[in-house]
């Protein structure tokens, strides 16, 4: 069983907050193939197209037959722990701040010997299961846990650096006036979040979802309007230093095309809420979250944007909405780069059509908000970076990867 994580305490105002540091971030181009796999939670290594040899560390030519056709394929993630050490000294500030640190060499069933971060319960000569995780610097690393999951695995102090478990953390959900906002709040509470802060704009507009959020335990509602700079600045000044996971579920979807529906006003609102809203949140919550990313085992850890899969390809039935999502996606990539410097990971969840009032006439399959919420929580717990939710989103991603022109010609609701 993993040593249970200590419960978070209130901050001692006389103590200095630990400054964030990052593990070494230099990687070769081919090593970032691991990052792409880790982002979606796959355990994949390079496999030679000619002789099938599994390669590690990543490279450009097969170490067996010198062929250069190496493809990333899912491989068996099992192995045996061959040797281990507990590091008591490091040349790097990040690890110095966190010693002792367990490491091991795993002989993978797939073939290679792999240096891995070791979970607490791993035992030498025993079988382990490996994962591709993303470390604090934003690059893929290999982690090993016992083959059979042990109790309280999620509390492992080392592995927690690479995942964003809401357990014992404080979460801000930006929009509490949608059903998705409600379900995310419910699931965060169920996942053991220490506090859930929920934002609400336009206080004169009532919402049955917000009323239900009001009844949840450990949950508080705050005024937050992402179209209003002062509103975002004000909330950040109040609770910014307590936000450990930020879930940006800003949402403003209206159906319609482009040429036959000229509506700058709606497009303006979509951009204000999805794009400028993200800018405001980033400007005022970003800096303080970065400062707290090394603030103990429950420190600030992740920023998650809930985006539509149509951020990846415009759906002409949702023309300006898709474009505003694409704008948000582009900005989130910058946010990812800037927040990474402070040890905070930016995740994006991509959903297909959701079962709500604005997507009422979209044909099935549609996602119910509770499903989306659960997948978001799981993605945070697993440390993924791109959470593709639902069959429609998965299909969109697969078809774009295969031939973007093909899906461009056929996409509609």
């Amino acid at each position: 069983m993993t040593t249970p994580l200590s419960k978070p305490k209130r901050k001692d105002p006389t103590k200095r907050t630990r400054i964030p540091s990052l593990p070494p971030g230099k990687r070769s181009r081919e090593a970032h193939g691991l990052t792409a796999m880790a982002a979606v939670g796959r355990f994949a290594l390079q496999v030679c197209n000619e002789c099938q040899k599994v390669q590690y560390p990543p490279r450009q030519i097969c170490s067996n037959c010198l062929n250069d056709k190496l493809f990333w394929r899912d491989v068996n993630n099992g192995g045996k722990l061959l040797a281990e050490t507990k590091l008591q000294h490091s040349n790097d500030t990040y690890f110095r701040d966190r010693i002792p640190w367990r490491l091991g060499i795993v002989i993978a069933d797939a073939g290679p010997s792999i240096v891995a971060h070791l979970g607490e319960d791993c035992i030498r000569d025993q079988r382990v299961r490996m994962s591709l995780s993303i470390d604090r610097a934003g690059n893929a690393v290999i982690t090993a846990r016992p083959e059979k999951p042990t109790q309280l695995e999620e509390d492992d102090v080392q592995l927690r650096e690479m995942a964003f478990n809401p357990k014992d953390r404080r979460v801000l959900i930006v929009d509490g006036k949608t059903e998705l906002g409600l379900r995310i709040a419910e699931n965060m509470v169920a996942a053991g979040a220490r506090d859930v802060f929920v934002g609400s704009a336009e206080p004169w507009r009532s919402s049955s979802y917000l009323d239900k959020i009001n009844d949840l335990e450990r949950t508080s509602i705050y005024s937050l309007d992402v179209t209003d700079t002062e509103s975002v600045k004000e909330l950040a000044s109040m609770i910014g230093d307590k936000v450990e996971i930020l879930v940006n579920n800003s949402y403003h979807l209206r159906m319609g095309g482009l040429v036959d529906k000229f509506d700058i006003n709606t497009a303006h609102d979509e951009m204000e809420i999805h794009y400028h809203g993200l800018m405001r949140l980033a400007a005022f919550f970003g800096p303080i979250m970065k400062l707290r990313s090394a603030d103990g085992p429950h420190g600030a850890s992740a920023w998650l944007n809930v985006l539509s899969a149509y951020a990846l390809i415009n759906n002409p039935d949702l023309a300006t909405y898709s474009a505003s999502q694409a704008a948000a996606l582009s900005l989130s990539q910058c946010l990812r780069s800037e927040m990474a410097a402070g040890g905070i990971r930016v995740l994006n969840a991509f959903t297909g059509p959701i079962e709500d009032e604005w997507q009422q006439i979209a044909p099935p399959p549609k996602l119910i908000p509770d499903t989306v919420a659960k997948r978001i929580i799981k993605g945070l717990q697993d440390g993924k970076e791109d959470i593709i939710i639902g069959a429609v989103a998965e299909e969109i991603c697969a078809r774009i990867a295969e031939n973007a022109k093909e899906i461009e010609r056929t996409i509609k609701l």
Binding site: P57, T85, L87, Q88, H89, L103, I105, I107, V141
Partner: protein, 391 residues
Amino acid sequence: MDITRNKYDGIAVCAPVTIPYTRYSLKSSHWFCGQSIAALIKRAKIKKEAIDGFCISSFTLSPDSAVGLMQHLGTSPRWLDHIPMGGASGGVALRRAARAVQSGDAEIVACVGADTNHVDTFRNTIATFSQFANDAVYPYGSGGPNSSFAFLTDYYMREFGAKREDFGKLCIAQRENALPVKHAMMKKPLNMDDYINARTIADPIRLYDCVMPCAGAEGFLVMSIERAKFLKLPYTQILSTIERHNAFPDDPIQYRGGWAIDVDEFYEQAGLGPKDMDLVQLYDDYPVICFMQIEDLGFCDKGEASKFIKDKDLTTKGNFPLNTSGGQLSQGQAGAGGGFLGVVETIRQLTGEVLGYQVDNVQNGLVSCFGMINYDRGLCTSAAILSKGDL
């Protein structure tokens, strides 16, 4: 087709020089290389221009290689080699220089292993050591070679039953051998208690299993025996050498090195066996690697090194003189200089020009080199058997 390698007839290895080690230095590697060349020409009483070949090994010369150094030194050699093989460089330099002189491509080759050590040198060197280290080792703890060798030591100890006391015996003997060397980093005798209870660096490696990085240089000259006699330089002769890279790539973890592949040819070329070695210099970045070399160089079977040294006295007065000036574990590791330390000490012992204790009645010396932990194992190995030259 059976190809036998040429012997090293007619080649002399002489003029051992050492630029004293310091923990940190403001000087550049170019300075340490230059000091080494100056010391060599002074010892040999030759002009700078008489050296027409250079074999250089240095991490901190970067961004220069041996090429940039030539412009620094103001010299125009007709033969030049830069050896990026870290701890294996000494033995490899010897091989390269010997063939150059033998073939007539050069007359006098200066071989130098040198490195400076600024306060951030070690950190910078290991952070940019190799692509595989960047991608697959350094992000895991940034422990440098300590974590990699911790794995090897952990595996070796469990697989073969070696105890920390066994490694301790080696470290303690080497410390005694180092005591008379003025510039050695470690100046006090070591006892088993201190060794066993030292601060843990990375289980099972503790403080006295690790070398101390420092600045310094080691060098020697390679020339014809005629030339050595003419210059009245005591010299040694090369009886055999071996070299191997990326040996046993399919071993899941490193427990043997490249020497094991070529060991038979090694002794065959020399016409000698392990029992004929009067002194042995082994590359000692960590005690476990010494144990591997003892096994892979034919002194005992794999896994038996602990047993082998039990009845051996490893000091300069003992029955198995090992790392007779203390090795890197007591002298310090002057970067690539560490790869030359064993070669230079062998020449010193066989020519009577020691800095520490002289071992009695020496004729044949074995030196073994190891280096370049690239991903999870040391890739380069070399070894040489030198014998006292007749004057």
